[in-house]
Amino acid sequence: MLEVRSLEVRYGDFVAVHGISLAVRQGEAVALLGPNGAGKTTVLRAIHGLVPMYSGTLSYKDRSLVGLPTWERVRLGIALVPEGRELFGGMRVEEHLELGFVPGRGRSYDSLRAEVYELFPVLAERRRQVAGTLSGGEQQMLAIARALMSAPELLMLDEPSLGLAPRVVRALYEKLAVLRRRGLTLIVVEQYVHEVLRLADRAYVLEGGRIVLEGGAEGLLRDPRLQRTYLAVS
């Protein structure tokens, strides 16, 4: 469904991602792991068109995305839940859903909203509340809900567990498991290795802008090299 080949991204002279290749099949859940500064976020931003690619190819459903602006990628069914959520602090929950809705994706606003509220009942309760007044977990749910309103086929999440209590993280991953069972393709960037590897089929481990390890999620959980990558930094 998504194919990235020899992706290189630079910020000025700094090379953030050195020729990464990865592929994601329809319906799959893939984790991108690695320490801070490994380039995981940059990979997601490049797939979403938020940073320009320096070189490499990028295709989605056999169609090249190179040069397409973000809004066109959203229309093709790619959605990103960004790091730090990036909500509109002064706007209500319901307004976020209205803004997230993208016409022309084959789903009506009402049916998408009903589905989102069913998945996150707490948001339905808070629909008139301003985003800035929600708790951290609720804000993360809102960020996901906002992304789901574009009826995506590929959903990318950047550190959804950041700053949340372990109990909230577990609840959040249960919701992601539901989305995955419904057939949504997922790419999740995480430092919280155990939760995400239980969700994912496969994982890539990044370090210094390169892929250093890849494989099935179950195997990686037991792989001593993964332990080392994390112990080396923490």
Partner: protein, 326 residues
């Protein structure tokens, strides 16, 4: 070689009034005046990246101080010595005011600074307009006949101030202070981390940039013999230096000079030779818009794209990162 060229240029300019008529000499005098203001502006606007839209405040302060002091009988009776003292005092008042306004103004950044500095100019204009007892208000002030500066004298003094302003920027650029200014412009946090006192450096640049402008205000006022708000505190007076520096290339030694010469040439050409029915501010405005759109680094860098090297290239072109592809 370079020094020899500059020396020849200076000698030619000193002697120029002997061969040129009154009109062209006056045109050169106005060019020197703009060079002074543009170089002084650029010390803060270019090297520090603080867009001071109120440079004319210092010009006006210099001129009004000079005129008011020459009304004091003791000073007035000293003849040309008195006038020289009054002009010097004008420069000092301008520099002192710069040191003072630095306290509130340097708390601002970017657009706030630009608007704040422009606001100061407007404030000064309102004060001068509304205190007719002191400043003559809208009737302006005239200078006594004995203190009037002839074209030749004013030409020489403004040439000296222009050369001095370029030299000042050259010296600052090569000093420790210049290095500190560059560091502050690139990153205040990084500059602070290596122990640079941001405020002191910026305040100093402000003062250095106000002194020649203030002196030029006095000299220019004594040459025209009359000052009022629109002559010495005009909005155009304040914006032209910015436009000249941007046109030539801001944050570089010769940029403001080149820009000033070009602007004046355009003005003289329009008025005297083409006689187009277009008011000159309209042309300045158009030039400003076009530079900002087409060559944000100025004409010097634009034409010599490949040739500008090293330190100067780094100054002229802050690192540009693509924000977002949209």
């Amino acid at each position: 070689m370079r020094w020899a060229g500059l020396a020849v240029l200076l000698v030619v300019l000193v002697l120029a009034p002997r061969w040129l008529g009154r009109d062209l000499t006056t045109a050169l005098l106005f060019t020197f005046l703009l060079v002074v203001l543009a170089c002084n502006y650029d010390l803060v606007g270019g090297y520090l990246g603080l867009y001071n839209l109120g440079q004319a405040s210092f010009f006006g302060l210099g001129a009004y101080t000079t005129f008011l002091l020459l009304r004091v009988p003791g000073l007035s009776s000293l003849g040309s010595g008195g006038a020289a003292l009054a002009v010097l005092a004008g420069g000092l008042v301008a520099a002192g005011s710069a040191a003072l306004v630095a306290y509130p103004l340097l708390r601002l950044r970017e657009a706030s600074f630009a608007v704040g500095s422009f606001g100061l100019l407007l404030f000064l204009r309102v004060l001068v307009d509304n205190l007719p007892g002191v400043t003559g208000g809208s009737h302006g002030l005239y200078v006594a006949a004995g203190h009037y500066l002839s074209l030749g004298t004013a030409y020489g003094l403004l040439l000296a101030l222009a050369a001095g302003s370029v030299a000042l920027n050259w010296l600052v650029e090569r000093s420790r202070m210049g290095l500190a200014m560059l560091a502050i412009r690139e990153s205040e946090a990084a500059a602070a981390a290596v122990g640079i006192n941001r405020f002191r450096v910026q305040q100093m640049a402000f003062v250095l940039g106000a002194l020649p402008t203030g002196l030029a205000g006095g000299v220019f006022g004594l040459h025209t013999g009359y000052i009022d708000v629109s002559v010495v505190l005009g909005i155009e007076r304040s914006l032209l230096p910015v436009i000249a520096a941007m046109l030539g290339g801001t944050g570089s030694l010769w940029g403001p000079v080149v820009g000033s010469v070009m602007l004046r040439a355009i003005d003289v050409g329009l008025k005297n030779y083409l006689q187009l029915p277009v008011p000159s501010p309209a042309v300045y405005g158009l030039v400003l818009t076009l530079i900002a759109l087409r060559m944000p680094r100025g004409i010097v860098a634009h034409l010599g794209r490949g040739r500008v090297q090293g330190r100067e290239a780094a100054r002229a072109a802050p690192v540009v990162q693509a924000e977002e592809v949209s």
